[in-house]
């Protein structure tokens, strides 16, 4: 049944490896650069003033939110359609969804604040923001399905199917919202970063932000799927013990 029972049990104090240390260090460095550049070095916008700086958090977060969604979808597809049904795919899918949900929340919050500062409103029916809101709720639902009772394989199969359904559902939501908003022309060009004139430094900082957030995403997912593996191992070990206990019950004392 399990691919995990071939692991030799050993005392594990952390889930770090050479790879994650390198990635983590890089992530910190890039993030520090983005913070300095975004807050200090880059100029304020002609129209929006200092509030344009939210862009350096909002845009990369949105990027990661969608990357996480795609990673979950692809790994779920691999789990379901591959012959071996390797649970590693399921763990990455789950980890990516958990991290993705956080970045989706950051996207929504920063987007809302940015809109407030720029246009005076906390929320507008901007298609991208609305779709992100739906993505967020869909993934909260996905995580809830992962927590339903059942075996590890059941969890993987169920949530894998839900993730694939989300792949078809999200474009449908997006198109509906886009067509819907296209009915209301004029006053609703609500994408604050549509108006920003970007010079080279701003572009570079934005790009660095995307790189930095991607590194953070990878680092988090690697660690999270390892802790998932460990907790699955604990469950397996408990089952092994329970089997022995149950067999001994019958042998009589």
């Amino acid at each position: 049944m399990s691919q995990t029972s071939t692991q030799t049990p050993q005392k594990v104090s952390n889930t770090g490896t050479q790879a994650t240390r390198v990635i983590g260090a890089l992530a910190i460095l890039v993030t520090i650069w983005v913070v300095i550049s975004g807050l200090v070095l880059t100029p304020a916008d002609v129209v929006q003033g200092e509030s344009v700086r939210i862009m350096y958090v909002h845009v990369p977060s949105a990027w990661i939110a969608y990357v996480a969604f795609i990673v979950t979808a692809i790994t779920s597809a691999f789990y379901i359609f591959s012959k071996r049904h390797s649970l590693g795919f399921d763990r990455v899918a789950g980890a990516s969804a958990e991290v993705g949900v956080i970045f989706m929340a950051i996207t929504l919050i920063t987007g809302s604040l940015w809109g407030r500062l720029t246009w005076g409103e906390f929320w507008q029916w901007d298609p991208r923001l609305t779709t992100t809101a739906f993505l967020f709720v869909t993934y909260v639902g996905y995580l809830a399905v992962r927590r339903l009772d059942g075996s590890i394989e059941q969890r993987a199969k169920r949530s894998g199917v839900i993730a694939l359904l989300a792949v078809v559902e999200i474009p449908l939501v997006h198109f509906s919202v886009v067509f819907w908003r296209s009915l209301h022309q004029g006053a609703t060009v609500l994408n604050p970063n549509g108006d920003v004139k970007m010079d080279d430094l701003m572009l570079f900082t934005l790009f660095s932000g995307v790189i930095g957030f991607t590194l953070v995403f990878i680092w988090l997912v690697l660690h999270r799927q390892r802790t998932m593996l460990l907790s699955d191992l604990v469950i397996e070990r408990a089952i092994d013990n329970a089997i022995l206990e149950r067999q001994n019950e019958g042998v009589g004392r």
């Binding site: 869909t138 339903l148 839900i162 359904l165 449908l172 198109f175 509906s176 067509f179 819907w180």
Partner: protein
């Protein structure tokens, strides 16, 4: 050829069974339809403005449909889990996608009955009007939208049926999925009613979206239903 006749036999058996149970027990007719009518009245209390009500009638109809959908879906699966009939269906060794289609079509029929009541209340309570062309649009819209809702309702209803607080998961999973139906059906219905100056011609594009939605979840649901309800 035998495979196909087997499947359609299962689909019709499940479809007839679900409708017969409803005809006998009248849970939807006696409980859900009055509930839906009441929602329409409550909207009037809350919104308290005849012009506004007439303008937003399309949206209110579909909101009430979706709220009632949860109850109807849970009832649809309560009859299966009551006496572990779902287990017997699994052991029967039949194609579970056929069970999915049978239940989805039965659900769709019940939703159509629901929408007839809701649209009638909109005429009575909100003073909407409809032209001859609008009626054609309205009927098509209702057919396509309820078919899509029937598919997704059966799919997620199957997943959340049964034990341990799973039923509370149904709204969380279902609401994001039915959002496109809410948007498209409302716009098409408003076009049929001519609310806010919308022309009926605008409604047909939205009906197209409803059809795509129904097709996607008809196929997706047939494939996903079996794996989702298996242990």
């Amino acid at each position: 050829m035998k495979k196909i006749t087997n499947r359609s036999r299962v689909v019709s058996a499940v479809f007839i069974k679900d409708l017969r149970i409803e005809a006998r027990s009248r849970v939807v007719t006696n409980q859900v339809l009055p509930f839906a009518g009441l929602i329409m009245i409550m909207f009037a209390f809350a919104l308290d403005n005849d012009d506004v009500l007439q303008r937003v009638a399309g949206g209110l109809i579909w909101l009430a449909t979706i709220f009632s959908l949860f109850v109807i879906v849970q009832r649809s699966f309560a009859i299966e889990t009551d006496d572990s009939a779902l287990d017997s269906l699994r052991v029967a060794g039949i194609d579970l996608s056929a069970v999915f289609l049978g239940k989805a079509f039965a659900l769709t029929l019940q939703l159509i009955a629901l929408d007839v009541v809701l649209i009638a209340s909109a005429f009575l309570l909100y003073q909407v009007q409809v032209s001859a062309v609008g009626i054609v649009l309205l009927v098509t819209c209702v057919t396509c939208a309820t078919t899509g809702l029937g598919f997704v309702g059966t799919l997620y209803g199957g997943l959340t049926a049964g034990a341990n607080g799973r039923e509370t998961l149904l709204p969380l999973l279902l609401l994001p999925v039915v959002a496109p139906v809410l948007i498209a059906a409302t716009r098409a219905t408003e076009a049929a009613f001519g609310s806010g100056g919308a022309a009926t011609s605008e409604g047909w594009a939205w009906v197209g979206l409803l059809t795509i939605f129904a097709a996607v979840f008809g196929i997706g649901g047939s494939l996903a239903f079996g794996p989702l309800i298996d242990e």
